[in-house]
Symmetry: C2
Subunit: 475 residues, 2 copies
């Protein structure tokens, strides 16, 4: 099914038992009629995510509690209609869109932060809190929630957990799953379970928390999360350098390790990325450069002073030039402006951006980028690469015009070849975005049959009627 989806089409509204008057009446009973949306214009905002393909749900239901979601799922199992949970709706693989119709459960109203515990270093929050709101709330207590997906201003915690979101800080701090201590989850069949707890050590039964993180809304709907916090680092320092070649830039990553420094972020831009932002915004970057690295360290003031000098030295020794080390917050912001300018700068290269987030062992990044450039050339597709050099997670962006079917086909061929290269280099097809329906046709490139069958066994055991988020992950 997923293979046949046309990127420029708007799917007509599906029709399942969710549209039955009796079902809609029951949904209204459960959450209140004002929280069941069926008008096309009110349902419309819930039809797509960042992929921008529309799959309008038959109804959008906006519950307030886990108990309401449990009742909805029991009804869905009785009447057999699909249910898709939605957070901020900013994913890149369609995880939150109802490709097989049915209802969308929006977690918009479940946005309470229930407890911030500075002594025990955890926060308890509902799934509809944005990552940004959570970060702001805990930083007011000098606490730190490290996961920082690029979409953090609009993404919801529920979606972050369901997708196991990454971000720039993961080179030092890991990804979302490393901060999830416990969950309340409504299972596909409507039971409410509690996994994990408030402590970072907990080995009581199977690690269902681990299983739910990254399960893309297919094994349960998260209704509460207990998240681990750290003390807020005192300071950060950022250093930026330009390189003639990508190989020189990436070689610096292991230089940091050998100097025993673990930067919080190591962001890389490739030659096309540099030209794109320079053409658009005239930062004064070297247009002939092969790569730019932006490196941040954090910690106590004395520590970041030391570490940022180690980083600066490593960058210079690694043939970096135009090296700039920021000391003030304003200087730091200026160094990062180049990275922030990327998305707007890329728009002129096409209305459709196939933004793939492959990941390879970090020493293989230069080879990945060289081969991706060659793939782009052979398919006559402009490609911009940037991303997280510290953990090998590169955002490969093939640009084309949405209406040019031939160009879209070429770009899609380039994507498939890029996935094959990432796997060949010891990596895989997604570091942050997940599978959803967009990458479902490629899952078997990265994961063998027995492993996929194990995943399917778990899905069938927990969701025998296939209610939750059908049409995702497996084709």
């Amino acid at each position: 099914m997923s293979q046949t989806i046309n990127p420029i089409s708007v799917t007509t509204r599906a029709r399942t038992t969710a549209s039955d008057a009796s079902v809609l009446a029951r949904l209204c009973e459960i959450v209140g009629a004002e929280h069941v949306l069926v008008d096309p214009e009110r349902v419309e905002p819930y039809a797509q995510d960042a992929v921008k393909e529309k799959f309008p749900p038959e109804a959008v239901v906006l519950p307030r509690t886990a108990q309401e979601i449990a009742a909805i799922l029991k009804l869905a199992n009785e009447a057999r209609f699909p249910v898709t949970a939605r957070g901020g709706g900013v994913g890149y693989t369609g995880g939150a869109v109802p490709v097989e119709g049915g209802i969308v459960i929006g977690t918009d109203r479940m946005n309470e932060i229930r407890e911030i515990n500075a002594d025990d270093l955890y926060v308890i929050a509902e799934p509809g809190v944005t990552t940004y709101a959570l970060q702001q709330a805990v930083e007011a207590h000098n606490l730190f929630y490290p996961p920082d997906p690029a979409s953090y201003k609009t993404s919801f915690l529920g979606g972050n957990i369901a997708e196991n979101a990454g971000g720039m800080r993961s080179a030092k701090y890991g990804v979302t799953k490393h901060y999830v201590l416990g969950l309340e989850v409504v299972m596909p069949t409507g039971e409410i379970i509690r996994t994990g707890g408030k402590t970072s050590k907990n080995v009581v039964g199977f690690d269902l928390t681990g299983l739910i993180c990254g399960s893309e809304g297919m094994l349960g709907i998260i209704t509460e999360a207990i998240l681990k916090l750290l003390p807020l680092p005192e300071a950060t320092r950022t250093v930026r350098a330009t390189f003639k070649t990508m190989r020189e830039a990436c070689a610096c990553v292991t230089r940091f390790t050998r100097a025993r420094v673990t930067p919080v972020a190591i962001e890389v831009l490739d030659r096309n990325a540099i030209r794109a932002v320079e053409t658009e915004f005239a930062f004064g970057l070297d247009q002939n450069a092969g790569a730019i690295l932006i490196v941040s360290v954090d910690g106590a003031v004395a520590e970041v002073e030391h570490a940022s000098r180690v980083v600066e030295k490593a960058l210079r020794e690694g043939s970096g030039y135009d090296v700039m080390r920021a000391v003030t917050r304003e200087e730091e912001d200026r160094l990062w402006d180049v990275r922030r300018a990327l998305s707007p700068a890329m728009k002129k290269f096409g209305t459709l951006k196939l933004n793939e987030d492959v990941v390879v062992p970090r020493s293989r990044v230069p080879e990945l980028i060289e081969r991706v450039e060659a793939i782009g050339q052979s398919h006559k597709t402009f490609v911009v690469n940037f991303g997280h050099a510290g953990d090998g997670n590169i955002h490969v962006n093939f640009m084309c015009e949405r209406e040019d079917k031939e160009a879209v086909r070429r770009a899609r061929d380039a994507v498939r070849e890029t996935f094959a290269v990432a796997i060949e280099l010891g990596g895989t097809i997604s570091g942050e975005h997940g599978i959803g329906y967009v990458k479902a046709p490629y899952l078997d490139m990265a994961v063998d049959t027995a492993t996929i069958e194990t995943m399917k066994r778990i899905k069938r055991a927990l969701d025998p009627n296939g209610i939750l988020n059908p049409g995702k992950m497996f084709v």
Copy 2:
């Protein structure tokens, strides 16, 4: 079943189809006759773990490869006999002992470190490598594998992963599961799967790695692990302080956080622990003290100098006395000697040590220990508490004579009450040791019915014939 096990009994050897001549012949075909042990004296070492109750397997099979284990599990499903995987056999909840008979698969021969990758910060190892051997091997490359269960010299990586082992460093570095990037696993039905990969970001399909970590050998047998490494910290510094009360000691833990220092280890000894080691070894400790804290920091030299002074100041301001800050390696060892002396010092208080590893939010540790002391008194049982104050994981040791059935009964009652208190304080019944058969009767105190049922559904889906490690976790 587990409730009726008598701690001083030796279970007679069970008899299942594993003892059939035809099955033994097939096992010999798979791994070679010299790697199938059936003589009582050769099987004996595989009959128990640190719990010291004997459940002799019908045969011990020592495979070399995942393919051999796959063949054994296919045979087990055909002939229907239990299979229990074993690492170092040093667990505290019986995870590696065959309580329902059948065979034990010993991973002793699967002890190769396959790759240490300093550039990409991972190591690939077989399950039979000891934690210590792995640490030594990677430290030779200036790399660091943080998980450090107390049994690290003899425990195997496979067991560490299956039990999601903790340790002292988890206050800063987390537990074993945070370092498992990917696994090769033989499923209960004999398929070989590969989970995760070599990169720290990987969101391709359900996180089976997360599910297998801590699954206590019930969902699969680990045959290879890809583990994440860090750069080896340049230095460590240790500070020790004595306190009149446990409350004063534990209050220092949040003082560190407020000073934005995250120590690598914060170990605590309670009054009985102090008296026990002082009586036995005469370190010169204050016999009337209520608690001792031993705090280590690690990092770059400048960083640990700064952090250890912050720690020292916090300990003094928190009414700590006899404060000692180690600068040399020898001084550091001396500070830790007190902690190392605990196990030998406790032996004189009883031949049976019920060593429970409850965990609570760290600010609740003083209340936990006060209530555990009261429980010990009401059950006339000597109790020694020590453990990881940084993450709230306290080792509660009720001491009694193995032969004194009445004293054992009282100690067991004290254990159940201790579990109830840990849960009441927002914690749970195990932070490090797992459930096995020892804690199986208590699982439903900590986990609700719907959550246990979810775990059972996964077990049934992946192990329909109940082959792997029966008699564990669920009663």
